[in-house]
């Protein structure tokens, strides 16, 4: 990788970290496609490398959010154990999963994230902004939330993402948790889940040092900056832009799953 490519990778991961912190998506949904499509990194190495970025962005984002005290510790505990178990188990089997299947599942994951962003665009303006919460009824439906978070953990372990695209809508729409609380809680859970998933990739030698170092550093800075700026950023234009990005990435990942010789 040339110096220019490393700088571009760092810039892209800075944006991915910032977007992840601002929109509650997590950076993994951008970083894995970035590595596989642009740098032609084998998908399992891309997933392992992305998990290191997720660790860094979660830590940086949670430090930025600590002063708000929005994360719900009980939700972190009960939902986190589900994601950790799912992530640890799926990461163990991930290297044996066909790369085409991983691409296909990733395409579904980015498609889901796209749909969730579009739903936020169509929601009333106040609901799309990450500002002070509406008064929630939650948390309710804890059992459903725990079950869904097992799925989020499995996605994390297989795909190298943090699980936020599953965790946040589950908390806000099924468990009736206020959106800012869900974002902050998910930020903590994502780091814990990524740590559990990272272990298996680390043991299997699937984390690229030459990519993880610049990508994790840049995404951590981006996440910290994004976390601090989030309440002041215009969310709707950001969401619109990243819906377009995700539509493109979804198409590319699904193509890699089905195209002959891809």
């Amino acid at each position: 990788m040339t110096g220019a490519e490393m700088l571009l990778l760092a810039l892209a991961c800075f944006l991915a970290g910032g977007v992840g912190a601002t929109l509650g998506l997590g950076g993994g949904v951008f970083i894995v496609p970035l590595l596989t499509i642009w740098l032609d990194v084998p998908v399992h190495q891309a997933a392992g490398t992305s998990l290191v970025c997720v660790l860094a962005t979660s830590a940086a984002g949670s430090i930025a959010l600590d002063r708000t005290r929005l994360a719900d510790p009980r939700l972190v505990a009960y939902l986190g154990v589900a994601t950790v178990l799912g992530g640890a188990a799926s990461a163990v089997v991930a290297p044996a999963v066909s790369p085409r299947l991983v691409f296909g599942l990733f395409g579904l994951a980015t498609g889901w994230a796209t749909w969730r962003l579009v739903a936020r665009l169509r929601a009333p303006a106040a609901a799309a902004q990450m500002g002070p919460a509406q008064q929630p009824e939650g948390p309710t439906n804890l059992g459903v939330g725990v079950g869904a978070c097992v799925g989020a953990g499995v996605a994390s372990g297989l795909l190298g993402i943090g699980g936020a695209p599953v965790q946040v809508p589950v908390m806000t729409e099924v468990m009736r948790v206020a959106a800012p609380v869900a974002f902050a809680t998910s930020n903590v859970m994502v780091g814990v889940t990524a740590a559990a998933s990272t272990a298996a990739y680390y043991g299997n030698g699937l984390i690229r040092a030459d990519l993880a170092a610049p990508a994790a550093l840049a995404s951590a800075v981006g996440a910290y900056v994004g976390g601090r700026l989030a309440p002041r950023l215009p969310v709707r234009p950001l969401i619109t832009f990243f819906v377009a990005v995700l539509v493109y990435l979804t198409g590319r990942m699904l193509w890699k799953a089905i195209a002959p010789g891809a």
């Binding site: 990788m1 190495q45 290191v52 660790l55 860094a56 979660s58 830590a59 940086a60 949670s62 430090i63 600590d66 005290r69 510790p73 009980r74 972190v76 505990a77 009960y78 986190g80 154990v81 950790v84 178990l85 640890a88 990461a91 903590v188 780091g191 814990v192 990524a194 740590a195 559990a196 990272t198 272990a199 298996a200 680390y202 043991g203 299997n204 030698g205 699937l206 984390i207 690229r208 040092a209 030459d210 993880a212 170092a213 610049p214 994790a216 550093l217 951590a220």
Partner: protein
């Protein structure tokens, strides 16, 4: 007040893990990372070359969520909340076992 203090300590611990991990990543970059190199595993960390420094950085980054969980657990312990405390302890055990298993692969 105790909760505030515990929260601040947790933030400091997470910050320290992130900063130390980041320093190791920077050191690894400066040391040089061959194209395609994977991070060094526990038995190779003493080499102190680029991949070893990045490997150490990864392990330090993993300490950040672990520090967060320890802080949460301490809060649940003080508040006498057994359910969340058990869940937090379970997560810590799973994390520890995962890394022990990962490290044992090379032997």
């Amino acid at each position: 007040m105790e909760g505030d203090r515990a929260g601040r300590l947790t933030t400091h611990a997470v910050t320290a893990a992130l900063l130390l991990g980041s320093l190791c990543l920077v050191a690894g970059l400066l040391r040089g990372l061959p194209p395609g190199a994977v991070v060094a595993r526990p038995g190779e960390l003493l080499r102190a070359d680029g991949p070893a420094l990045v490997g150490l950085g990864v392990l330090l980054l993993v300490l950040a969520p672990i520090a967060r969980l320890v802080g949460l657990g301490a809060g649940f312990w003080q508040a006498g909340q057994r359910g969340p405390l058990a869940a937090t302890a379970t997560m810590l055990v799973v994390l520890a076992l995962s890394f022990v298993a990962a490290s044992a692969r090379e032997w």
